[in-house]
């Protein structure tokens, strides 16, 4: 380990520690194997390449992790209620594109044209950001309403959305990508570094911590776990399971909106095909983190770490010089082995 890398990692860690020192977060780390895996990977990373521990590389990992991680947080809630959301990737593309379209129409009432040279967005940033979150949320709620009220199986509802939203996105944008190069300040979310830590990662941290606190320590959390664990028991206890099943979809939608803002802020562009496949990565992360598909079982903390693990794994593979498809092989193996290990774990527990 050379001096440069040592400095970078301690810089990053001390920054993280400074920000999180008030939280019990550090206590939890003590008893989790998933953390050991993470550490193992970090060691593996440093052995693989000298640049692994460079500040730049770690920050890169952090930015990618924040995008997938935020999606996975929403997905965790949905899976905990025994449902699934396959529309998040499409929601990411659609919500931003729709927001831009809405802003364009709104602003043109005031005679302002937000789009120049057919592809460059040059104003209306705040409105676009607000509407992205609003639209992504609404899509999420729509998923929830269709699944719960019309009783369409979650897989089917969100699968249909997956296709429909991409189609809509194409129609709205006429297939052209849009660029934010001239939109002042838009790239803040995806590129700004604060105390050596990317701000988007800080947001991930905050969302993660808030999520963990709510899920584990409040009545809201119990309601969600009960709805997924045994809906009948939840209903008999007076919990409005329908409501909570819809709310978790709303949260998943919110996460998609937030994630797309980070993504597009970083790349300074948005296009119809962006975030393709992200829904599957989010499910993979949730599942690797220990949440099962049966509903009612899982921890947000596991998801939180699993996102980091996945980010590190992908990074190591890239540094090794292997092409992207190797990532898929490894991720596939990890998903199956992780779930196998968890199921074995639960079976052993049940016998004692």
């Amino acid at each position: 380990m050379n001096l440069d890398s040592k400095n970078s990692i301690s810089q990053l860690l001390s920054s993280v520690r400074e920000i999180t020192k008030e939280n019990k977060f550090l206590d939890l780390i003590k008893k989790n194997i998933i953390v050991l895996i993470l550490i193992f990977l970090l060691v593996l990373g440093t052995l693989t390449s000298g640049t692994f521990l460079s500040l730049y590389n770690l920050q890169n990992i952090a930015i990618n992790v924040s995008i997938f991680g935020i999606l996975a947080i929403g997905q965790t809630l949905v899976l905990l209620t025994k449902q699934i959301d396959l529309s998040v990737g499409a929601n990411m593309a659609f919500s931003l594109i729709a927001a831009i379209k809405i802003t364009q129409i709104l602003m043109s009432q005031f005679g302002v044209n937000i789009i120049q040279e057919a592809n460059y967005v040059n104003s209306g940033m705040l409105t676009i950001i607000v509407f992205t979150i609003v639209v992504s949320n609404l899509i999420g709620l729509l998923n929830g309403i269709i699944t719960v009220k019309a009783k369409v199986p979650p897989l089917i509802t969100t699968l249909g959305m997956l296709y429909a939203l991409r189609g809509f996105a194409y129609v709205l944008s006429k297939g052209h990508p849009l660029y934010f190069t001239y939109l002042q300040g838009f790239n803040w979310l995806g590129t700004k570094i604060l105390f050596n830590v990317p701000v988007c990662f800080l947001f991930y941290l905050v969302i993660g911590i808030v999520g963990i606190l709510i899920l584990k320590y409040t009545k809201i959390g119990t309601k969600i776990y009960a709805t997924g664990g045994n809906e009948k028991a939840a209903i008999y206890s007076g919990i409005n399971s329908d409501l909570w099943r819809i709310i978790v979809y709303g949260v998943s939608g919110f996460c998609a909106g937030f994630a797309t803002l980070i993504y597009s802020s970083r790349l300074e562009s948005v296009e119809v095909a962006q975030a393709t496949g992200y829904e599957f990565i989010s499910v993979a992360i949730v599942v690797i983190g220990g949440t099962t598909l049966e509903g009612g079982r899982g921890r947000l903390f596991g998801t939180f770490l699993a996102a980091i693990i996945l980010g590190v794994v992908i990074n190591i593979i890239t540094l090794m010089g292997l092409i992207v498809w190797y990532q898929n092989i490894i991720i596939g193996i990890i998903i199956i082995s992780a779930v196998f290990a968890y199921i074995k774990g639960i079976r052993v527990k049940k016998r004692t």
């Binding site: 320590y217 409040t218 009545k219 119990t222 309601k223 776990y225 009960a226 664990g229 045994n230 009948k232 028991a233 939840a234 209903i235 008999y236 206890s237 007076g238 919990i239 009612g296 079982r297 527990k349 049940k350 004692t352």
Partner: protein, 501 residues
């Protein structure tokens, strides 16, 4: 306190698709009173208490609490009205702790947002102590035994400080000492002025503990007994079964029974379901199994067929020991079964009748290259369609479109084509009209005459009485009595008495 009873139901009716579950039932219970509701399966007991508990809403009739009309449209409202219910099957979240389940949706809070786990754990310990059970509140419910889950369920209902507590068939899985503890608890609650509504199949105990017994039959209230009246088990049972108007054709065909046992079962046990089952099935005999739901009969039969696996014991076919671990083994050894869910477990509904009949015999119906011979398949199917008189337009029709009775015939044909020695039938005429019932019974008797050994399980005692040569009564997983046709104990009243005591 006015003269109105604590809870009063007036002319409550409830219909489910195709079934009139309750018909203008009046019911009341007072402070500190223990009222039991008894009746056969399907009489309407669970429906009645589910209406009180807010799980169903009545189609007609009114409910009054202390003279005030109320509408109990969901369990939450029932709770608010002080009605607590301990369900037949524990309704708990398996992956959450006992403590979390006890306080589900009623959690103690530390400040506005955060749960107070300590306090909930403390109170959980307290209430579990009161019930006399040593259960760690931090255990996950999925790691508890069935009995412990029932205790948690009861504790949960009691935490609400209800003024009316309903026990819906909770004693089905309890042992003697646990039932004693439960009854002691009920006495304590009674002395505190809590009204108890109790549903149980153990009539002896019910008589012991109740102030009043209400008897339901086919959705109607047919009788009510007070503690002061001399209540006899026979009296209650007679009310439960009522007058039988139909004539039963007795079939005394014992002469066809051979001395050789076709099937011998020794010490067969499956932990949690049945224990030490010993019996012989003779060639040419129809052996009946009678018992309440949960007695273990279906599980016993499924173990003989291989869909469940035994823990101890042996099964002998024609005096040769056989190991049956899956239905394939059973069939290879000559044992066939028609389960009580013919649509899910006996037929491939979207396939044709021909396919359904021939599916278990395919290895016999191939030519030397192992290809299926369509002519043979067709003729085999046709043979049974005519012998069993299966009403269908063609053998290519999908099984889905047949009536219940004809579907049952198809399943039977499947077994017959295979040429099995032992045929097990669980609820042979479930959901089948009266006329076809008789046809089914005649078919089974014909098989008996041909020398097959037949085991029949049915909740309808008259059915067993009309076709069986012998009936074994099963309770709590054990064979408690054997009744032979030749004896004068071979009647409904007697059998029910054994089943319910």
């Amino acid at each position: 306190m006015n003269n109105e009873p604590l809870l009063k139901l007036v002319e409550i009716s409830k219909t489910f698709p195709g079934v009139k579950a309750l018909r203008e039932v009046d019911f009341s219970v007072n402070y500190g009173e223990v009222v039991s509701v008894v009746g056969q399966n399907g009489a309407g007991k669970s429906t009645l208490v589910n209406i009180i508990g807010g799980i169903y809403t009545p189609d007609n009739g009114n409910i009054f609490i202390n003279g005030q009309k109320v509408r109990i449209s969901n369990p939450g409202i029932a709770e608010k009205l002080g009605i607590g219910m301990v369900h037949q099957e524990p309704t708990l979240v398996p992956m959450m702790t006992v403590s979390a389940n006890l306080f589900l949706n009623k959690e103690h809070l530390k400040n506005i947002f955060f749960l107070n786990f300590e306090k909930m754990k403390e109170e959980s310990n307290k209430i579990l102590d009161v019930l006399g059970f040593n259960i760690n509140p931090e255990t996950l419910v999925e790691n508890l035994s069935l009995v412990e889950r029932g205790v948690v369920e009861t504790a949960k209902a009691m935490l609400l400080n209800p003024r009316i507590l309903i026990f819906d068939e909770v004693t089905a899985t309890l042992g003697i000492s646990e039932v004693e503890r439960l009854f002691k608890l009920i006495q304590e609650l009674k002395s505190k002025g809590i009204a108890i509504i109790f549903i149980s199949h153990r009539l002896q105990e019910t008589i012991q503990i109740s102030d009043r017994i209400v008897v339901l039959r086919d959705g109607k209230k047919v009788g009510e007994f007070n503690r002061k009246d001399k209540v006899s088990l026979k009296g209650i049972i007679n009310l439960m079964i009522g007058e039988k108007v139909e004539e039963r054709k007795e079939r005394a065909k014992e002469i066809y029974i051979y001395d050789e046992p076709i099937l011998t079962v020794k010490n067969l046990s499956k932990i949690g379901y049945f224990k030490d089952i010993n019996f012989n099935l003779y060639k040419g005999e129809i052996l009946g199994f009678a018992g309440l739901k949960g007695a273990g009969i279906t599980e016993l039969l499924k173990t003989l067929y291989g869909t469940l696996i035994k823990d101890f014991g042996d099964v002998y076919l024609k005096n040769k020991k056989v190991i049956i671990q899956k239905p394939r083994d059973a069939i290879k050894n000559g044992i066939g079964m028609i389960t009580n869910d013919r649509q899910k477990e006996g037929l491939a509904l979207i396939r044709s009748i021909e396919e359904n009949i021939t599916i278990s015999s395919l290895d016999y119906l191939t030519n030397m290259f192992n290809f299926l011979k369509p002519n043979i398949l067709r003729r085999s199917a046709e043979r049974y369609i005519s012998t069993l008189d299966i009403k269908t337009t063609s053998l290519k029709q999908e099984a889905l479109y047949l009536s219940g009775g004809n579907q049952q015939k198809v399943v039977l044909a499947k077994l017959l084509l295979r040429g099995l020695d032992v045929i097990i039938v669980d609820e042979p005429t479930k959901g089948i009209d009266v006329k076809t019932k008789v046809v089914m019974h005649n078919l089974l008797i014909e098989l008996k005459e041909k020398g097959k050994g037949i085991i029949v399980a049915s909740p309808e005692i008259p059915e067993l009485l009309s076709i069986c040569d012998r009936i074994l009564i099963v309770a709590s997983g054990r064979i408690v009595k054997e009744v032979k046709r030749s004896t004068n104990l071979f009647n409904e009243s007697n059998i029910l008495e054994t089943m319910y005591s």
